[in-house]
């Protein structure tokens, strides 16, 4: 499974990127991109203190430098994309932000508090939710139970109360299920709420994972390739959901995505990683015209030789 989606990711990058640079945005996104809406939706952007900021993050695995001196600052309500070739360190960055990895150097500041390693166990309490590049759903649970599990951090009842159906457990359960149902409705998943999640097609599982992250109404939502392996139609649908989630819950979104077209239409700002370094961090228009970005990442898409080099790297 990881291998398959990895291969898919590589494929998507090579299939979609040339189209983007030959003809601009893919048709589906040209329709969807609404820059005016986007600017109004970002609340008093520049003045606000960053919700998330990274300072001098460094991380290596043995000899491989996954991240080097990464600084990043994300304003409340922003949709921030992180792009870069395979192996650039995007997932590692999300893993550092969510405490799955501990950075060798640097700090993560979340809402004012500074961490050398973000306490994963407390992540949900801090208002941070995430999805994974390779699905991380609970296969043995239904769609509804998967989504309701996103509220597990709120559980106050103990197991004895739950066994006997006394104390807080009943009210808590009702509350969880009704909130899960609201999110399912919001993401148009109500029809499959009782299906075992392992039996769903890939694209729907991705959406269920988004639902599980959203149900807690996080202040910061980290999405690791939420649209990987999807068709163009599914991608624009997913992009619409991400934008709607931001608008509805005032959630700040950090998202990794390979499809440059999707990213340009969806995000307020784009950070570009290459070999663990941040080589650009600006608005979509600025990034599109940044010479270093074109050389390192975007350019390869319009150049077949460079593309094969890039794919070689992806295999690392």
């Amino acid at each position: 499974m990881p291998l398959a989606s990895y291969a898919l990711g590589v494929m998507e990058a090579s299939v979609y990127a040339p189209e983007v640079f030959a003809r601009g945005l893919p048709a589906s996104l040209r329709v969807e991109a609404q820059p005016e809406d986007r600017t109004t939706a970002v609340p008093a952007a520049d003045a606000a203190a960053p919700l998330l900021s990274l300072q001098g993050i460094g991380l290596s695995f043995g000899g491989v430098v996954a991240l080097a001196e990464i600084d990043l600052s994300v304003r409340p309500g922003e949709i921030r994309a992180i792009i870069g070739p395979n192996g650039a360190g995007k997932s590692s960055l999300i893993n550092v932000i969510s405490g799955v990895y501990r950075a060798d150097r640097g700090h993560v500041r979340l809402d004012g508090a500074s961490y050398a390693q973000v306490p994963t166990q407390r992540l949900a309490h801090l208002g941070v939710a995430r999805t994974f590049q390779n699905l991380a759903l609970f296969k043995g649970l239904s769609v509804l139970d998967n989504v309701a599990s996103g509220l597990a951090y709120k559980v106050r009842s103990n197991f004895a109360g739950q066994l006997l159906g006394i104390g807080r457990s009943r009210g808590e359960q009702r509350d969880f299920l009704s909130r899960a149902d609201q999110i399912l409705e919001f993401l148009d998943l109500t029809a499959i709420r009782h299906r075992l999640v392992g039996t769903l097609p890939y694209g729907l599982q991705k959406r269920v994972e988004l639902a599980r992250a959203l149900v807690a109404q996080p202040r910061l939502l980290l999405l690791d390739e939420p649209m990987a392996g999807m068709t163009a139609g599914e991608k624009s649908e997913m992009a619409a959901f991400v934008r709607a989630a931001r608008d509805r819950f005032a959630t700040t979104v950090v998202l990794i995505e390979h499809d440059v077209g999707v990213v340009m239409g969806l995000s307020d700002c784009i950070a570009v990683l290459d070999y663990g370094r941040k080589i650009a961090d600006a608005t979509p228009d600025e990034v599109r015209n940044d010479q270093r970005v074109i050389d390192a990442y975007l350019g390869v898409a319009s150049n077949d030789e460079a593309l094969s080099v890039n794919e070689g790297r992806a295999g690392i």
């Binding site: 992540l123 949900a124 609970f138 043995g140 239904s142 599990s149 597990a152 951090y153 197991f159 299906r195």
Partner: protein
């Protein structure tokens, strides 16, 4: 499966509680009247004890995903704890001894569950072997546990509840049935509760479970505690109601494997499955010895029986792992669905 059941016309969909209630009515109302003492002594009593142990292990392994090879140790802990509470605490009713024995087994389960905070899968399984060897060693080494009996084999106390003796085969059967029914019902409630879903979440993806705020360490230890409690009580039933003696030897590694096989054959993460598996494990050797005796006559002595039993059982487990990894319970559900559809279309 959920999708399938919704295809069945409403007339055929009975409330979920009907089947267990009918089964219990049969077990309480009919079986005691028609059963022979052979049925109780050789089949139903071991079936109930092992089925309950299977339920206990299934909570830990099937639901919470933590492999254990120490089940027999927790059975032994329960049996010996109940024996000693009964012996040493004046006026403690039998039920009190059993509940306290469950707590002792749970405490030992927590201690030997600590490695699960660091170890997974195969390594965890090996570390639970420590429980197996340690408990058996301690019970043999310190004769205090067996009240200094010379042989180490002690008679279990006679069963009685509120002065009502349950000595005969039927009495012991009813006693075991009651304990097993209550604990199984609670286990069923547990696995469909928030805690049960947390178990499954940790089993299916521990990192994701931690990220969404499930207290992973606490939940794992809770799984060990609950599972060991149930297995401990199963040990009491095994010793007090079935064997009527308490001895460490019966709770060896073979027994631990037997309970693991029950869970695998019956179906992981299924409460019903534990009883399917226990039924097979109990009935199978009896059937094999009858069949062997019938086909081969005197050649089929106990040595040959023991060997052929191991071979056939081993083959059966491999077959199950390959052909029906979801166990007897999945097989059963499929057959039942076929029957329902067949009836519907005729």
């Amino acid at each position: 499966m959920t999708a399938m059941t919704s295809d069945v016309p409403p007339a055929l969909v009975l409330p979920k509680w009907i089947a267990p209630v009918l089964l219990l009515a049969f077990a309480y109302g009919v079986v005691p009247l028609i059963g022979s003492s052979y049925l109780f002594e050789a089949i139903l009593l071991p079936f109930l004890a092992l089925g309950l142990a299977g339920v206990g292990l299934n909570i830990l392994t099937g639901y919470a995903g933590q492999v254990s090879l120490g089940s027999a140790a927790f059975m032994a802990a329960g049996a010996f704890a109940a024996y000693n509470f009964n012996l040493r605490v004046e006026g403690l009713p039998l039920v009190g001894s059993i509940v306290l024995a469950g707590f002792v087994a749970a405490a030992i389960g927590i201690v030997f569950g600590l490695p699960s905070l660091r170890l997974r899968g195969f390594y965890l399984a090996v570390s639970t072997l420590a429980a197996q060897f340690f408990v058996q060693w301690a019970l043999t080494k310190f004769s205090w546990f067996s009240n200094n009996s010379a042989s180490g084999v002690i008679d279990a106390p006679r069963l009685s509840i509120a002065g009502f003796a349950l000595d005969g085969a039927v009495g012991r059967y009813l006693f075991a049935l009651t304990v097993v029914s209550i604990l199984t019902f609670l286990a069923y409630r547990l696995v469909s509760s928030q805690t049960g879903r947390n178990f499954i979440a940790i089993r299916d993806n521990e990192t994701a479970a931690r990220i969404i705020g499930i207290p992973v360490l606490k939940t794992k230890l809770l799984a060990f505690a609950i599972s060991s409690f149930i297995i401990g009580v199963a040990g009491v039933i095994w010793a007090f109601a079935y064997l009527r003696t308490v001895e460490p030897d019966g709770f060896d590694l073979d027994r631990s494997f037997q309970i693991l096989f029950i869970v695998i054959i019956g179906g992981l993460a299924s409460i019903r499955g534990a009883f399917f598996g226990a039924a097979l494990i109990v009935v199978f050797p009896l059937a094999l010895s009858r069949l062997g005796g019938f086909l081969l006559g005197d050649v089929f002595d106990s040595g040959v029986l023991d060997m052929s039993q191991r071979i056939v059982l081993g083959a059966l487990i491999i077959l199950f792992l390959i052909l029906e990894p979801d166990g007897l319970v999945a097989l059963w559900d499929r057959v039942r669905r076929r029957l329902l559809f067949a009836r519907q279309s005729t």
